[in-house]
Symmetry: C2
Subunit: 484 residues, 2 copies
């Protein structure tokens, strides 16, 4: 992807000229590409052609939950920066939500199931230790007669969607590709035991169509990954939907992953473009969003890392020098650092990050879906004029941990995604449920989500039209679905 | 991969000349390649550079189990064609076995963890619904300081290893590749509730190093996949290690998947090489092996499919014509068909399939590891002379269901794999345990595998040297390991 220095010092991405640019060395102020021609052999502009998100009709307001939980006003709405939380009763599970997301996407874009050559699901909502959600989604292919569809499920906490997306892009670029589209399905039902973590739940599934000549292009050659073994958030209680969480540790891990991923990302950027990357090179930035406040801090942290790297930008001139000598561990929790860089990046946050926070703020944490709900939020709230030739920095984090920083270049019109998804409008069509009723629904899930020989009781009018729902679970725990 | 007609009518694979062959149209009796040049852009000979299998020191003899279970003599040893079954006590789990498999491979080949750019785990042995085994394996990378390693876990019954392998190959062929190796880790602990399915258990993990210029090359452009939604084998009881199995349905599904995969495989072969594929084109054939008898039947079935396709080979001249008019469903269970094609393929089975059945017969079903334990068995029992330029047909099946047929070409010496793995010798170093003690161990697993605050009791002398083992599980169900 070509990358041009503009007079203002910010960088814009010109994906249109990708293939031509690789053959030229004059496109980036004379800086030399490292082996650019190697990228010429792949299909051009591989990325996201289409996307949609399914989320439930029911939600609970965080301000209502604050009162219900008897916590201080603003604890969830300002402390977490969350507005509301989507949830499902016993009519929906990860199978039904994935069925809905895929079928809606295929209908909205009028795509034939025959044209899909790969489908991979990223999730951490597990109904079966062996059988993949992918196989359940194959029911949608039955009428088309196409069962020749590669890919299964991929799992590591909130990272599965990114893994599925990168695998899909690799497939298109490999000899395995047969010219058809790939589908990436990613999302979760995030629920927590009653207590302080409960308001950080959420629910939603994003479906994406991947192929060549896409408007949202994965930027080649530039990526940073960090994975390590840590118990910050995990689900060893197999019969419970609830995770074990060490919240404080998880924030440290999240920031450490950002540090390492950003380091690798910058290093590959430098190798590829022959220029140093800094946050001015990102037109937008989207983060995995457990809650919005953490995203705000993460965006600030990336600027702190630029500052540590010796940025001479005048915006860092007022930063107290002592912040430079903090150890990484100190820096994760230092209040002065948080305040300084929070203030310093406030304007950029509004411009570059806030547009992607809509769905994460209104749905809550959709785990693997979160980052891509962020992307859909951005596309849904910006015009082509705002987006074209812009670089979107992406940070994906899954506890345990697996994290990758990568980037998209917006190479064409994303208007159809915005118009067919109707994400903003659909948020407005949801129904607010009281915390009392929400709590009853959580109890119902606790008591019934693992049962065989079970018929759900939640009324169908709690669902949007076109939603798949669970009809029954039989004695052998086989699950049956219908569509509203 | 070049493919040459020999005078005997059988086909041999000449992977050495791959790149040159693509540019030529004269190498296959004048048949035309379909768009061959597209494959020139990828690194050459991507496939398996190195492999090893870890299996436990303890096993139980199937002949002993027959007596213990009070079933007819030969029910397991002839009916299933299984010799023995590997198992583990409470000292080993899928984390420890994967740690052992990877560390052993890295030591045997003296590879630095810095040189690994991707690691993906295929399994259906799930200890945590969120945290991947991949993250646990990152502990092995700590000393190297390399945490920039893509890939997580991939799940669908016994298919995960194949998905991980194909993803690794795609990665090497894509722009994501940074020149480093990929590791594929695949295996399971297969245990069943007491009853008729119990002797079809097993345990083992295979680790494979994937990269370019490999001796075992994935044949490009030729593949057939079949996936559908079916409840033949699944694990909806989250707190149990045991699956729910509809054995009869699963065999039907397995055969239907073979039919469909073979169809697609042949069609891509024809497109690519301009020739019709039949079983004479396969020098060896390896199948996912729940038990060896099913593999024997599967090999016979592929010949039945050739016969149905109108093969004029003289070997089918004595086949009763009425077998041609069976419906697919009838053909899955027809006794005359089974007998006719069993007899007819007996010699070819010994030559082409039996060499790959060693580990599956001696370890039992290692689920995702099974197909690759078969490949290691072949390589461990054949000389380079027997293997070079030969095509190995692979059939991967995971219930639920996901299946792929693909092929390897043996392009270089596999001697180092044979010598470092010592698979045959290590089978002889195992210790046979009585069915009584085996049953006690299964009970111990049932009672303890899901516990927190637990210290395993199985003595360490039940383990091979160099084996990782579980030291304890703490109150928060965090797991700690050491190496013998």
């Amino acid at each position: 992807m070509a990358h041009r220095a503009s007079s203002s010092g910010t960088r814009s991405v010109q994906v249109q000229q990708q293939r031509r640019s690789y053959a030229s060395t004059s496109w980036t102020n004379g800086a030399k590409l490292v082996n650019p021609s190697v990228f010429d052999r792949y299909p051009s502009n591989v990325g996201i052609l289409a996307m949609d998100a399914y989320f439930p009709k029911s939600f609970v307001k965080q301000s209502d939950l604050e009162i219900f939980d008897g916590v201080g006003k603003g604890k969830y709405t300002i402390g977490l920066e969350q507005d509301s939380m989507a949830f499902t009763g016993d009519r929906e599970d990860i199978y039904s939500m994935s069925l809905t997301a895929v079928q809606n996407l295929m209908e909205k874009y009028n795509i034939s199931y025959k044209d899909i050559g790969r489908l991979e699901v990223g999730t951490e909502t597990v109904l079966d230790k062996s059988k993949s959600i992918k196989t359940v989604l194959m029911t949608l292919f039955e009428q088309s007669g196409n069962f020749n569809v590669e890919g299964i499920d991929t799992i590591n906490a909130c990272y599965g969607g990114t893994s599925a997306l990168l695998n899909a892009v690799n497939w298109v670029e490999s000899s395995s590709w047969d010219g058809r589209y790939a589908l990436v399905v990613t999302g979760d039902i995030a629920v927590y035991a009653a207590g302080p973590a409960r308001p950080t739940g959420g629910a939603g599934v994003v479906a994406m169509l991947v192929g060549r000549d896409a408007p949202i292009v994965l930027e080649r050659g530039i990526r940073g990954t960090h994975m390590e073994h840590v118990y910050d958030f995990y689900k060893p209680n197999m019969s419970s939907e609830y995770p074990l969480v060490d919240g404080k540790l998880s924030i440290t891990c999240y920031f450490r992953a950002i540090d390492n991923c950003y380091n690798h990302f910058k290093s590959t950027f430098n190798k590829f473009y022959g220029e140093k990357f800094n946050m001015d090179n990102a037109d937008y930035a989207i983060f995995h969003s457990p809650y919005t406040k953490l995203v705000r801090k993460s965006f600030a942290r990336l600027h702190y890392l630029d500052y540590l790297s010796g940025s001479t930008s005048s915006k860092y001139s007022s930063v107290p020098a002592k912040l430079k000598s903090l150890t990484p561990d100190e820096s994760y929790t230092d209040k002065e650092l948080e305040k300084t860089f929070g203030e310093l990046t406030k304007g950029d946050y509004s411009a570059k990050v806030e547009p992607s926070s809509l769905l994460p703020k209104q749905l809550g944490n959709t785990y693997t879906g979160s980052l891509y709900a962020g992307l859909l939020s951005l596309v849904s709230q910006k015009s082509d004029k705002d987006l074209t030739n812009k670089r979107v920095l992406m940070f994906s984090y899954g506890s345990g941990l697996a994290a990758t920083m990568f980037s998209f270049g917006i190479n064409g019109s994303a208007k159809k995604i915005k118009e067919t998804s109707r994400a903003v409008e659909r948020l407005g069509e949801r129904v607010a449920i009281t915390p009392e009723d929400y709590t009853k629904v959580m109890k119902l899930r606790e008591d019934t989500h693992h049962l065989g020989n079970y018929t759900p009781v939640t009324p169908l009018d709690t669902l949007f039209p076109g939603t798949y729902y669970l009809e029954k679970v039989d004695n052998e725990k086989r699950r049956y679905y219908a569509r509203k």
